[in-house]
């Protein structure tokens, strides 16, 4: 079986399976040649995007071994397991667990565990693979061919022609002439692969400040069990936050399913907290309100709780009568409602500096930090009636005007099929468009209008007489 892709107008083999490799097929061969050699060839179109998606999914799943994980292209993953091995017994246990995990989803992998990422990469791709103690890996790397440096084709050839076949040949030589010939990048590569220089990986997800894991021998399925585990993890998290005098602003629960699916649920709080009961309640509400509920499948075999964002929070001392300050329970209300309804449903009003009515204020999620304070609202003239409507239509709704007078409010208008007789009106309040945002915005003349029933409207005419042929009228809002 081979994967084929189209390169330069010809179908070429992109990858071959072991059976095909046995018949002498290699990637890069044209499909026609391959067919000539092996007529009974099964071909599948190569889809690099699917490969990448699979790799991403595996990376999410392998996040169970360590939070420090990055893609190591092509087709590789780099895991920084510093301080993680004890969770699986020892390093051998961790390597075995990783192989088992990959085998279960049908992947054959090569792995190497060494003291630097580059050494591990070289040993996995060009060497025997396996687990190497510190010091031992250097010996092993020295035995690798120079190709393990992954230089360009030309440079590798140049090294081989010079009789330098193995890394050891380079290591034994003074570096300066080599650097002069092959560039500074070359000596950096050599230093890293040999472990003289240690470059840490850049993880796919920045590791959270606090992570607490629970691994199960038996996968758990029951909601009550999940909640109990979350509660336990929160106790541990709260302890660690307390020791660091920190409070969490965002908590993430990662549910690792047996079949490799990972689901992450995040809850955010309006202010830093380490109150585990409140956070557990947020998780409960969030889990209950999920549009796509948490599906345990054959069970979760690991649950991870991470604190994504922390903030300094002084140790608190509840007062004797058990009361909490008002601000705290209000922000808890915001958190609870946000967890249940989503941030776009729990809003605060914020003034904006614009004369356009639709841009004069906005509604922001209440969990966000306060941008503009109350004093930023414009000053009011005493004794004025409200000049802006209590409720506004977005977009403005068209009205049909009757008995119009030029440059004045209509005497009658029809809105939603109801005819309104104008009893009194005030205006126009002329508001020009924001030409710096979009050109050709028409000027609007706003009128405050009261009809004979006593209802108050905010009408506007778009465009001036003369500027447009037939100005259109809209109702933009309703006054109380």
């Amino acid at each position: 079986m081979v994967l084929v892709e189209k390169i330069g107008g010809a179908l070429r083999l992109a990858a071959v399976d072991p059976a095909a490799a046995g018949t002498g097929l290699v990637p890069g061969l044209t499909l026609a040649d391959a067919r000539a050699r092996t007529p009974a060839l099964r071909t599948i179109v190569h889809r690099p995007d699917m490969d990448a998606a699979l790799l991403l999914q595996v990376m999410e799943d392998f996040g169970r071994f360590t939070p420090m994980i990055a893609e190591d292209s092509p087709h590789g993953l780099m895991l920084d397991v510093t301080g993680c091995a004890h969770l699986f017994g020892d390093e051998t246990g961790l390597v075995r667990a990783a192989h088992e995990r990959a085998g279960r989803i049908g992947l054959g992998i090569r792995s190497a565990l060494a003291s630097t990422p580059q050494a591990a990469r070289a040993l996995a791709r060009f060497g025997p693979g396996g687990r190497f103690e510190a010091g031992q890996d250097r010996q092993e790397v020295r035995r690798l061919p120079v190709a393990a440096l992954e230089l360009s084709q030309r440079e590798t050839q140049a090294l081989q022609r010079a009789g330098l076949k193995r890394i050891a040949d380079l290591d034994d030589r003074p570096r300066a002439p080599l650097a002069a010939r092959f560039g500074a990048d070359f000596s950096a590569r050599l230093a890293r692969i040999l472990g003289d220089e240690d470059m840490r990986i850049t993880p796919y997800r920045p590791p959270p400040p606090i992570t607490v894991d629970r691994i199960f021998f038996e996968p758990i399925v029951d909601d009550a069990d999940v909640e109990r585990v979350l509660s336990d993890l929160l106790i541990e998290t709260a302890d660690r936050l307390d020791q660091a005098s920190q409070g969490g602003r965002a908590f993430e629960a990662g549910f690792y399913r047996v079949d490799g699916e990972v689901r992450r649920i995040v809850v955010r709080t309006g202010r830093a907290t380490r109150d585990r009961i409140a956070v557990l309640r947020l998780f409960r509400e969030r889990l209950a309100a999920l549009a796509n509920p948490l599906d345990p499948g054959f069970g979760f075999d690991q649950i991870r709780l991470s604190v994504l964002e922390t903030q300094t929070l002084k140790p608190d001392q509840p007062s004797l009568d058990g009361d909490r300050p008002d601000g705290e329970d209000f922000s808890r209300l915001i958190d609870r409602l946000t967890a249940r309804l989503g941030p776009e449903a729990v809003l605060r009003f914020e003034p904006l500096g614009s004369h356009m009515p639709e841009r004069a204020a906005r509604m922001v999620p209440a969990t966000m930090k306060v941008g503009r304070a109350a004093q930023d609202w414009p000053d009011l003239t005493p004794d004025d009636p409200p000049l802006r409507p209590l409720q506004m239509f977005d977009p403005p709704q068209p009205v049909e005007t009757l008995a119009e007078v030029p440059d004045g409010s209509p005497l009658r208008f029809r809105w939603r099929r109801v005819l309104h007789e104008v009893a009194c009106a005030e205006g126009p309040e002329r508001i020009g468009g924001e030409w710096w945002r979009a050109p050709d915005q028409k000027t609007r003349d706003y009128y405050r209008v009261e009809d004979r029933e006593g209802r108050r409207f905010w009408l506007f005419r778009q465009g001036l007489y003369g500027e447009t042929d037939e100005p259109r009228w809209f109702v933009h809002g309703l006054f109380a």
Binding site: D329, L333, L341, R348, P382, L390, V405, E453, G454, F479
Partner: protein, 251 residues
């Protein structure tokens, strides 16, 4: 007037606790929004949805007594009567920065919001704006709200547009509509004006109607200015008057 006053005083006497502002309001309007009670407000016609929200917000502001206000808004209200506009709230003296607006896709969620908010001591008043008849707003739901309010923290106002008054566990039931405002100089539309009818109140009392306007400076309802009336000034009808440019009002 004196008769009215005595009557109002007798009404006020029945309330459990009075906000400090009430002494001033009492001459016009019995704002006996005691803590821990639920009040039903009905819009007389669906077109009065904005009036009822404004009335509810005004009442909530009085009841909250400086604490936060939570406005639970059924999404249908936003579609039918427009989305709340921050500057508009500000112009009514409603302190939009201290208000939490919570949008609810359905009535069930709206009720949850109401209960959650009532259980929070920092929330002084809750306004729930609902649109249309809804089975979810049953007597049971009303009792639940009353029970949640019974904690004694806040006052809840349930503003319903497009619904007919129905029995509930509320302390009082009102029917509200917008009325013509007392026109300002030059025939300009005046302050927010309401006609509020007390349909029923726990403890008895006959239905009565108050016509009043919202005064944003004192943040209270008051009787319209003496010279007002439903008389529409003719001047505004004249094209010459209407076409006058934007004029300044004399304070």
């Amino acid at each position: 007037m004196a008769a009215l006053r005595t009557r109002l005083e007798s009404l006020n006497a029945c309330t459990l606790s009075l906000a400090p502002r009430q002494a001033r309001d009492a001459s016009v309007f019995p704002s006996c929004w005691a803590r821990g009670t639920v009040h039903d407000l009905y819009a007389e016609t669906p077109a009065d949805a904005v009036a009822i929200n404004a009335f509810g917000l005004g009442a909530a502001l009085q009841a909250a007594d400086g604490r936060a206000i939570v406005w639970g808004l059924h999404d249908m209200v936003g579609l039918e009567a427009g989305r709340p506009h921050g500057p508009g709230l500000h112009e009514m003296g409603l302190a939009p920065s201290d208000m939490l607006l919570v949008r609810a896709p359905d009535i069930q969620t709206l009720l949850i919001i109401g209960e959650e908010a009532l259980r929070t001591p920092a929330v002084g008043a809750v306004l729930l704006s609902a649109w249309g008849e809804a089975r979810a707003l049953s007597l049971t739901a009303s009792r639940r709200l009353a029970l949640a309010a019974g904690g004694g923290h806040g006052t809840l106002f349930l503003a319903r547009a497009g619904a007919v008054p129905a029995p509930s566990a509320a302390e009082s039931r009102w029917s509200v509509r917008a009325v013509a405002s007392a026109p300002l100089e030059g025939g300009a539309p005046g302050r927010p004006s309401f006609s509020a009818t007390l349909l029923r109140r726990r403890g008895g009392g006959e239905p009565r109607t108050w016509i009043m306007e919202w005064d944003r400076d004192t943040r209270s309802f008051r009787e319209p200015a003496p010279l007002s009336g439903a008389v529409v000034p003719l001047a505004a009808q004249r094209p010459a008057e209407a076409s006058r440019p934007f004029r300044r009002r004399v304070a």
